[in-house]
């Protein structure tokens, strides 16, 4: 009697388990499908990510290059170098003027002697 009562109950349990196994399989399939979609979208974004990262690095370098050139144009060291050069030239000019003053008559006489020997 007991044996006869157990069989249908067992069968029902197996049916339920099989059904839930199918449901679980479906959950996993859906998860895999969703994972595939995520990966595909990432693949699509890969080129964009590459280009964006490339653009950012190059833009940063270009900005740095601009700053370098700007700095070169505004360089204070160069301005002071130019000032030194001009100052030296002015000093040199003064020395020339002083020496020319001393040698003026000699130069005039030598030139005159070339015309009136």
């Amino acid at each position: 009697m007991l044996e006869y009562d157990l069989v249908p109950a067992l069968l029902e349990a197996v049916r339920i388990i099989v059904e839930k196994e199918k449901e679980a399989g479906k959950i996993l399939e859906e998860a895999k499908a969703q994972a595939d979609i995520i990966k595909q979208e990432a693949q699509k974004k890969a080129e964009e990510a590459f280009n964006e990262a490339y653009r950012q690095v190059v833009a940063k370098a270009r900005q740095k290059a601009l700053e370098l050139k700007k700095k070169a144009k505004e360089a204070r060291t160069r301005a002071s170098e130019a000032e030194t050069i001009l100052k030296k030239a002015e000093e040199h000019t003064k020395n020339i003027q002083n020496r020319a003053k001393e040698k003026f008559d000699e130069a005039v006489n030598v030139a005159l002697s070339e015309i009136i020997p």
Partner: protein, 209 residues
């Protein structure tokens, strides 16, 4: 028995959900890793271009500096050269002033006669015209003696004639053949002009060396 079945079934579903969650999380994670790899690859690839950009900018900056310093050097050199030029011109101006003063001295007549002889000799003697300025026109020049000297020097009988035509120069003389084809300009200004290059060098040597 029913509760045992329930437990089994719940476990199957909760395991499946857990695994599904893990699959999706893994997909997100691997996507992010892949994107980061792409970004890193881009940075590496860009580094070559970055080096070129920075190298070019550094070179341009260097050239800017060199060019501007060279420009200042050039300006400084010009400043010195201009001053030297001015000082040489001062000497030449003084030479002109003294030549003018000389033309009013007694020695000038002798010198003018020498110029006439030199010019006549250069022209090879013959029939020659002497051109003077208004002031010198009245000077007493010994033409006979001058003709004689030129004749001796050239071997050609020479005759000098004082032209009525006056020269504009303040000192010196112009001698020309009577046919007007050849002349020798020995005005002081012309002599100065002919010798200017040589004189400038000589003056520069005295003033600046």
């Amino acid at each position: 028995m029913e509760s045992q079945v329930h437990r089994i079934v719940d476990k199957i579903i909760s395991d499946a959900k857990e695994k599904a969650k893990s699959i999706i999380e893994e997909a997100h994670k691997s996507s992010e890793v892949m994107l980061e790899q792409q970004r890193e690859l881009a940075r590496q690839k860009a580094s070559e271009e970055v080096s070129l950009i920075l190298k070019k900018a550094e070179e341009e900056a260097k050239v800017t500096t060199i060019t501007e310093v060279a420009e200042v050097n050039r300006k400084a050199s010009w400043m010195i050269l201009r001053e030297k030029e001015r000082l040489i011109n001062n000497v030449l101006d003084e030479v002109r002033t003294r030549l003018n003063a000389f033309s009013k001295s007694k020695k000038y007549v002798l010198f003018l006669q020498r110029l006439i002889v030199d010019s006549g000799t250069v022209l090879g003697g013959g029939m020659l015209e002497v051109l003077l300025n208004e002031k010198d026109f009245t000077l007493r020049l010994n033409f006979d003696e001058l003709e004689k000297t030129i004749t001796e020097r050239t071997g050609v009988k020479t005759q000098l004639r004082l032209s009525e035509e006056k020269i504009n120069a303040p000192e010196g003389t112009v001698i020309r053949r009577v046919d007007g084809r050849i002349l020798v300009d020995n005005t002081f200004e012309a002599i100065l002009k002919r010798r200017e290059k040589h004189l400038r060098l000589k003056i520069a040597k005295i003033l600046f060396e």
